[in-house]
């Protein structure tokens, strides 16, 4: 029995919007992830994926419930949690006037990477094929390139847990493939990857286990196989709809 690297129990996040009133962005979600696993959070836009991920990475504080990363309670020791993770989201931007290489070096240093930083940076640049624009200022890169650099810096300090919020959104086909390959490789190296997407096909391809979320609530968790069995559907999209209907029927 492998230890869970991420444990989320009864997570609730509520906030108040002037227009909509009280909003339960995350409503009693429970799941856990292990090392060497790609865990996908699946659901349509607005389902609560980003909020969940931001809570796990300590950017947000939960309204109630517990979040544990590598055994550390996020509420008690958020810094400890942060040391073990790399977080990527569309809300995390880069520093516009540093070059890609400088960015990677900076985040390696600041996260306390213990090995040879220079070597590591070159390694990552090579792996993600950033070589041609490694010394270009970030604000001069295209959207796709920026995203790649962003993902690179997420992993630059070799954390055991990676939390990625829609990492391939906005990338072209080739780049998206590269990213997915990278994520696979990281999993093979024993890391935990918790990521979210709204593209069902991507989840099918990459994830070891999946959690389907809709309107802040968990519709179902399990491996791809388990979900197929449970719903009797082959494609996740159909499975999702079925689960939704079932939930609706249950009331």
């Amino acid at each position: 029995m492998q230890d869970s690297t991420i444990q989320i129990e009864n997570l609730v996040k509520v906030y108040h919007d002037r227009a909509r009133g009280e909003v339960r962005a995350v409503d009693d979600i429970t799941f856990s992830c292990r090392s060497g696993e790609i865990f996908g959070l699946l659901g349509p836009n607005g389902a609560g994926k980003t909020t969940t991920l931001r809570t796990v990475s300590t950017v947000l504080q939960p309204t109630s419930g517990t979040v544990r990363v590598m055994g550390i309670d996020a509420r008690q020791d958020p810094v400890g949690v942060r040391r073990s993770i790399g977080f990527y989201s569309s809300t995390t931007a880069l520093f516009p006037r540093l070059t890609a290489r400088e960015t990677l070096r900076f985040f390696a240093e600041v996260n306390g990477y213990t090995g040879d930083i220079r070597q590591r940076v070159e390694e990552v640049i090579h792996d993600l094929d950033l070589g041609s624009y490694a010394d270009v200022r970030v604000d001069r890169l295209s959207q796709g390139m920026k995203q790649k650099v962003s993902l690179a810096r997420t992993d630059i300090h070799d954390p055991p847990v990676l939390i990625l919020d829609e990492p391939t959104t906005g990338l072209d086909v080739l780049n998206a493939r590269e990213i997915r390959n990278r994520i696979s490789t990281l999993r093979d190296r024993g890391k935990t990857v918790l990521f979210s997407t709204h593209i069902m096909a991507e989840a099918e391809k990459l994830c070891d286990r999946i959690a389907i979320i809709h309107e802040g609530r968990l519709l179902g968790t399990g491996t791809l196989g388990e979900i197929r069995e449970r719903t009797g559907e082959r494609y996740l999209e159909d499975a999702f709809v079925k689960l939704l209907l079932r939930r609706g029927a249950d009331g």
């Binding site: 989201s89 880069l94 600041v110």
Partner: protein, 681 residues
């Protein structure tokens, strides 16, 4: 449990990379460093040019004048003589006179066609100087237009020419009557200016240096500070940093270091700039006369270091409070203006380091700098100034670090979890801002009703203050009673309060004395202020109503109810009391009344916080005003109580507050409102 060992390296990493990022922004470099370097010579040149042009113009003015009155011939004659005399004897000035002959000289003057009208009148019409013989002496009246530069110059030139003529005449008389053999050396006065050359220029520079340096630091440093916090928050790179191993405190500290570094560089650069134009005399200007040794400049630089420190702290403070880049910029504007005030202290004559200015940060350094540049400053005083300003810098930096630390989290505000909470929050944010338009309205109404004090009071207090407060409450649909705190406090406090009112007046009188020392007002103004009182022969009920009760209710509702209540939620009770008192003082719009009013505000605010109710404050305020009114009508001089009464008064007030604190039964109403709707979690 952040790992300490990595702390230093993390801070230095953030520092190095961020500063690299900052310095690569061309705009920053330009605004912070290049622009100030350009502005100084530009200003020197421009002002020099304008002065030259003005002088030239003044010298080349051809005085167009006309003579009027029955003795116009004589008058014209005198003017001509004066002109001649100047032409012959005074090689420095040349007087170009041109006589015109319009039909009605005075109206031509009024229309601007002439510079001067000269008229000779018999002295018997004018109140003479009481000596015999004077009544026969004619008087030359020079009519001019005060709103025209040229007319004013013309008057001065002709005036001195005529005086010259008269002096020459008298000299002649003295010589011819053998009254004095050498009129020129009779009781002659020789003037020797002992100030070393350039001292005057150094003096001017000394007065302005701190102001300029502070301004450049704030202007240049603001670009960096805004970008580092507000800008980064907007861009999203702040969130990236927040998910790394850097703690918020470390992050805040690194940012502070960066702003400090920039502020210091600007400071150094400016002093070097000064060196260029003074010692090295790069430009032909009066500044170059000030021979300031490099040693002195280094001393000036050392003195300015705490100012840079303080300025950087203030910049970061603004940046942390602002939620976006634009908001930060809006906040900066008034702060820069406010910062200019203490730095301008050396411009006020008579203020020296040995006075109360010693304890005011920035002002004391400014005075010390002036001292250094003009050759003498007391080293102890300078050191004390350094420590005080540095201390202020440290305090502000710590405060801004705390604010930044908490605001760096994207969830800086605890998100409200109930509609009432949300409305309270919005109210707390907008209510203080509403006081700005209220202030403007009070200004307008004061000028409109400047003659009718009663109407003014009604307009200001009832309409604007009370009306504004009620409107705010209505807008956010907050319950009147609880938000303002209109419940009854413990009955025990009333007797103590009653005693505290006159005690408070005794204490205020000391503040008043201090205030008149700081803001000297002419005796005439004091009389005016008293006379403009309601008119003490008005019926008593009217006096009490308009002078005590109405202002008490309305002002308390506005300042202690709305303002104090809303600001409390953001900055805490203590600061809120201070802020509301200051605003209260400002609203009374005269310098001399500011401090005593603010002092009263402090006491009233404290009573609200301690009892959780607005009612004691209303009663206190009303009684205070009523008592003050009655005292001003009697001959009792409240302005100089002795030490013993003062101590007794202080003790009484302290006792009253103590009782208030101890008998507090319920939490303050707004807190109760909050809690009731908060729910759990």
């Amino acid at each position: 449990m952040a790992d300490r060992s990595g702390r230093l390296s993390r801070i230095s990493s953030v520092f190095l990379y961020q500063i690299r990022s900052v310095l690569r922004d061309r705009r920053t470099i330009f605004l912070a460093f290049v622009l100030p370097l350009l502005i100084v010579p530009a200003m020197i040149l421009l002002s020099g040019w304008i002065t030259d042009v003005r002088e030239e113009q003044r010298e080349s003015v051809e005085i167009e004048y006309a003579v009027a009155g029955p003795h116009s011939e004589r008058a014209a004659n005198m003017v001509r003589l004066a002109g001649q005399h100047t032409a012959e004897n005074d090689t420095l000035t040349s007087l170009a006179l041109k006589e015109e002959t319009p039909d009605s000289p005075l109206s031509s003057l009024a229309d601007g066609e002439l510079h001067l009208v000269v008229r000779l009148v018999r002295s018997s019409k004018i109140h003479g100087e009481g000596e015999s013989g004077t009544s026969k002496t004619p008087m030359l009246v020079l009519y001019y237009r005060g709103d025209s530069d040229e007319s004013g110059w013309a008057m001065e030139e002709l005036g001195s020419a005529l005086e010259g003529l008269r002096a020459a005449q008298r000299r002649e008389l003295l010589l011819s009557s053998a009254a004095v053999t050498e009129p020129d050396s009779f009781m002659a006065l020789q003037l020797t200016d002992l100030a070393p050359e350039g001292r005057a220029a150094a003096y001017t520079i000394g007065r302005l240096t701190t102001l300029f340096v502070l301004f450049f630091i704030l202007a240049g440093g603001s670009v960096v500070a805004m970008d580092l916090v507000a800008g980064e928050r907007e861009r999203g790179s702040l969130e990236t940093l927040l998910t790394t191993s850097v703690t918020r405190r470390e992050l805040a500290f690194s940012k502070q270091l960066i702003v400090l570094a920039i502020a210091l560089s600007i400071c150094i650069l400016q002093v070097l700039n000064l060196l260029l134009y003074t010692s090295l005399g790069l430009l032909e200007s009066p500044l170059a006369e000030a021979a300031i040794s490099p040693a002195r400049l280094i001393l000036v630089l050392l003195l300015l270091l705490p100012v840079a420190f303080l300025a950087s702290g203030i910049l970061l403070l603004i940046s942390s409070r602002a939620r976006s880049y634009r908001e930060a910029q809006i906040l900066l504007f008034p702060v820069v203006l406010l910062g200019a005030v203490p730095a301008a202290a050396p411009l006020i004559p008579g203020i020296s380091l040995g006075s109360v200015a010693l304890v005011i940060p920035v002002a004391n350094i400014a005075l010390a700098v002036r001292g250094v540049l003009t050759g003498g400053v007391n080293p102890t005083l300078a050191a004390v100034s350094w420590i005080i300003t540095g201390g202020a810098g440290i305090a502000v930096s710590l405060w801004s670090a705390k604010l930044m630390g908490s605001s760096l989290s994207p969830e800086a505000d605890v998100l409200p979890s109930s509609p009432v909470q949300l409305r309270l929050r919005l109210f707390s944010k907008s209510a203080p801002r509403a006081f700005l338009p209220m202030f403007a309205l009070v200004l307008v109404s004061s000028s409109l009703f400047s003659d009718d004090l009663a109407l003014q009071i009604i307009a200001n207090t009832v309409l604007i203050l009370l009306g504004g407060s009620l409107l705010l409450l209505r807008r956010y649909r907050l319950p009147l009673r609880e938000t303002l705190g209109l419940q009854l406090p413990s009955p025990f406090i009333w007797p103590f309060l009653g005693a505290a009112v006159p005690a408070g007046i005794v204490l205020s009188s000391h503040i008043y004395r201090l205030s008149t020392a700081l803001f000297p007002t002419s005796a005439r103004m004091m009389e005016e202020m008293y006379a403009r009182g309601i008119g003490l022969d008005a019926p008593l009920w009217q006096l009490l109503l308009l002078g005590a009760i109405v202002p008490a209710v309305c002002e308390e509702a506005a300042f202690r109810g709305v303002l104090l209540g809303s600001v409390r939620r953001t900055v805490g009770s203590a600061s809120a009391i201070i802020i509301s008192s200051l605003v209260f003082g400002l609203f009374h719009m005269t310098a001399v009344r500011f401090l005593p009013t603010a002092f009263l505000g402090l006491m009233l605010g404290l009573s609200v916080v301690l009892t959780g109710s607005l009612l004691p404050a209303i009663v206190w305020h009303a009684l205070n005003n009523a008592l003050a009114l009655m005292l001003s009508g009697t001959s009792l001089d409240p302005t100089s109580p002795g030490t013993l009464p003062t101590l007794a008064a202080a003790a009484t007030v302290a006792a009253a507050f103590y009782v208030m604190a101890r008998t507090r039964s319920a939490p303050s109403p707004q807190v109760a409102l909050d809690k009731r709707h908060r729910g759990d979690g």
